[in-house]
Chain length 132, copies 2
DNA sequence: AGTGAAGTTGACGCGAACGTAAGGTCGAAC
DNA sequence: GTTCGACCTTACGTTCGCGTCAACTTCACT
């Protein structure tokens, strides 16, 4: 059941569309913790889960260091309570930041939409048929 | 009426909480176009407007180059039609990207909220009073 | 034994977005 | 007349997130 879930670096790269360099870099930054078979990396199910979160975090503009802190939240198990509490507060700040960002994003989308309406008007008044 | 709207670099820095280096850098990248009084920069009302948009764009992870292209949309006046149309399509892509990002952000917020619920549960079960 | 694919560890390179001296100018203040 | 604060230019330094060799090793095949 927990077998065959181990992937080589090549399989991971194909699965997630990243380069080997990227995965090694993430390991060096302690974002991933593949096992070793001799010198070769074996990525676990846990690593895949973490990678999903890493890639998502990146899309929001979080730094790898910020992501690393957030990842701890997903690995609550045998950690210290103080560590958990600290991670929790980090996540809370992050959550607030994300909510704020969403609000700004909503505004920005509205603004951009308005500006594009404006542009369409101008284009039409000039008789250019480039607006959808 | 259009008087006294000119600001020195120092005033701008205070107003927007940026460094002089940043404003000069933006000028070098043609994001801002302050007038000159001798060698000293005089930032106009237009520059302030653009700076607002620059800072917002940055919060969404747009590159300065992308922002520069978007800024053109706000300066439609005596431009060429082809230029406007090109800028329009750039903005359209950007808008789609922003909408996609908002959708992902919504998901991520939900996930993070769920994880924090999870963390709270664990903290409570361990009798730690750090959860709000 | 040889070849090739896939993996490894350095180590240097790079573009973005500024930071950070280092040194020069210029007008107002003392 | 010099000192001071605010500004200027030039230019090298820095962090992030990898890309890109270079130089092996290891293993499966033939």
């Amino acid at each position: 059941m927990t077998e065959d879930t181990f992937s080589t670096i090549g399989q991971m790269c194909e699965e997630f569309d990243v380069t080997p360099r990227t995965l090694r870099f993430y390991e060096s930054k302690e974002l991933l913790f593949p096992k070793r078979e001799g010198s070769r990396r074996l990525f676990t199910r846990s690593d895949r889960g973490r990678l999903v979160l890493i890639l998502r975090g990146k899309r929001f503009g979080f730094s790898l260091e910020e992501i690393r802190q957030l990842l701890d939240l997903y690995d609550i198990g045998d950690q210290q309570q103080t560590q958990i509490a600290r991670t929790y507060s980090v996540a809370l700040e992050r959550l607030e930041a994300m909510r704020a960002q969403r609000a700004e994003l909503d505004d920005a989308i509205s603004e951009l939409e308005a500006q594009m309406d404006h542009a369409r008007t101008i284009l039409k008044s000039r008789g250019v048929g480039a607006a959808a």
